[in-house]
């Protein structure tokens, strides 16, 4: 009941902030329409809707990281968390409350992105539903990044690092905007080691119904999500003890 009360509050704080919701839902959809318009005039394989939409769905999650990190950083700075730490709540109440309500928001955001893609010609298939479900590890990964950044950064730092640096890095290293093979070298190797390109490739494979190709990426993203989540929990508990 305590976790539920705190989770509801986290969800309300996020959903009532028009800027974060506008960015999180609106920005990927606008990009989807824009790049599809370019694709209509100058066909590029990368911007074909079945390739672009999975990338945009994953890219949208970087805003989930931004708004969850900002909320947590704000709660730390405003002493709201201090107030809660003086109450008989367990550490798990906090961790679940700052994680669980973010996941449905992230999945709803990707659903909007895929619905926009349907309007742009993405066929409605069973694979589309599966693609939404297979976003779960990526949603957890980006939520964990939010918990991690929110535990260590100030509100200003969270805005700068998550809003500019993290969103750009995840976009560049995920193969959404350009083919990583075209860059090659250290850049491609780095991108391959990180989870972002695997989250996008997982989605692309599931959308094609090619589960054999999807699962290596699935495990890669899931393992990263688990590691980042554990690290985030450690950092959250550390700031809690401070």
């Amino acid at each position: 009941m305590k976790t539920w009360a705190l989770s509801k509050r986290v969800a309300k704080e996020i959903l009532r902030d028009p800027l974060t919701v506008g960015f999180g839902v609106g920005f990927p959809v606008i990009l989807l329409f824009l790049l599809s318009a370019i694709q209509a005039n100058i066909p590029v394989d990368l911007f074909a809707i079945e390739t672009l939409a999975p990338g945009m769905a994953v890219f949208g999650f970087s805003f989930v990281t931004l708004f969850s990190a900002t909320l947590l950083a704000k709660d730390r700075e405003s002493a709201f968390l201090q107030r809660l730490y003086t109450m008989p709540l367990r550490a798990t109440d906090f961790i679940i409350s700052y994680t669980l309500p973010i996941l449905p928001i992230a999945l709803a955001q990707s659903l909007v992105c895929y619905l926009a893609a349907v309007l742009l010609g993405l066929p409605v298939t069973v694979s589309l539903l599966a693609a939404v479900l297979f976003l779960l590890p990526a949603a957890l990964l980006f939520t964990a990044f939010g918990l991690l950044f929110g535990s260590v950064l100030t509100v200003k730092q969270a805005g700068g690092i998550c809003g500019a640096l993290f969103t750009n890095l995840t976009a560049w290293l995920s193969g959404i905007w350009f083919d990583l093979e075209l860059v090659g070298g250290v850049f491609q190797k780095t991108a391959d080691l990180l989870p972002f390109v695997h989250a996008v490739e997982l989605e692309r494979a599931v959308l094609k119904g090619n589960y054999a190709a999807a699962f290596p990426h699935f495990w890669w993203v899931t393992a990263y999500a688990a590691v980042v989540f554990l690290l985030a929990v450690y950092l959250f508990l550390r700031q809690m003890k401070k």
Partner: protein, 239 residues
């Protein structure tokens, strides 16, 4: 009966001793004021008593619960209104209060009872549907105190409750605090001497983490030969 007993409480941050072997007792139902200039150790003391910071030495017992060995027991009987208002900004006043009820695990009936009781007691009925972020500083402070009271604490900590408020809002908040007197034990920190004079049963004056003087306002004035608490404070702290 003692509500708070502090014994040799010490908190050090690297080379700085924020609170130095503090000894203190506060009686049940008393409103105790902690005074001191910036960095005197008031907020650190409240943080230790509310289990937000661990002491390096000493202990404190709140209604018999040790802050060192039984912080969970302490957390069940305290309410804290921090220096910053610490409200959920995008939630309405009603939602903020319901949140605290939820975090205390109250049933639906108890939630409704607490909502009615504290929105009336703190005069929040007219702003229940307003988001906290839209409230003035004075209303946010009221909400902050109401949030601390919802859990029916036996001891309430008020860390600079009127900081940054205008004269009218401060006077209104004093009325709120006065109305609570005797119903629960309160510990208040403040920079405003007139606030301590108007509200506190006893005050303790801190400097460099140590308790310089302790007594009623009248006792401190008598001790220093001062007419007003402010003069007494300056005399004691300047030494």
């Amino acid at each position: 009966m003692e509500a708070i007993r502090v014994s040799g409480l010490t908190k050090k941050y690297k080379d700085c001793t924020a609170v130095d072997r503090l000894d203190l007792t506060v009686e049940q139902g008393e409103l105790f004021g902690l005074l001191g200039v910036n960095g005197a150790g008031k907020t650190t003391t409240i943080k230790m008593l509310s289990c937000l910071a661990k002491p390096q030495e000493g202990d404190a017992f709140l209604m018999g619960h040790s802050i060192v060995t039984d912080p969970a027991g302490v957390k069940k009987i305290i309410g804290v209104s921090p220096q910053e208002t610490a409200v959920a900004p995008n939630l309405t006043v009603e939602e903020n209060l319901l949140l605290m009820c939820g975090l205390h695990g109250f049933s639906k009936e108890k939630r409704e009872k607490q909502m009615a009781r504290f929105s009336q007691q703190l005069g929040l009925s007219q702003v229940l549907r307003k988001r906290a972020i839209k409230l003035s500083g004075g209303w946010q402070r009221r909400l902050s105190i109401a949030m601390a009271l919802v859990g029916e604490p036996e001891i309430l900590f008020l860390d600079e409750p009127t900081l940054g408020l205008d004269v009218l809002a401060r006077s209104e908040l004093w009325d709120v605090i006065r109305a609570l007197k005797g119903k629960l034990t309160m510990m208040l920190t403040t920079h405003y001497m007139e606030e301590a004079e108007a509200l506190c049963d006893r005050v303790g004056i801190m400097k460099n983490g140590r308790l310089l003087a302790l007594g009623t306002v009248e006792e401190l004035k008598e001790q220093t030969g001062a007419q007003r608490l402010e003069e007494a404070f300056i005399t004691l702290v300047k030494v």
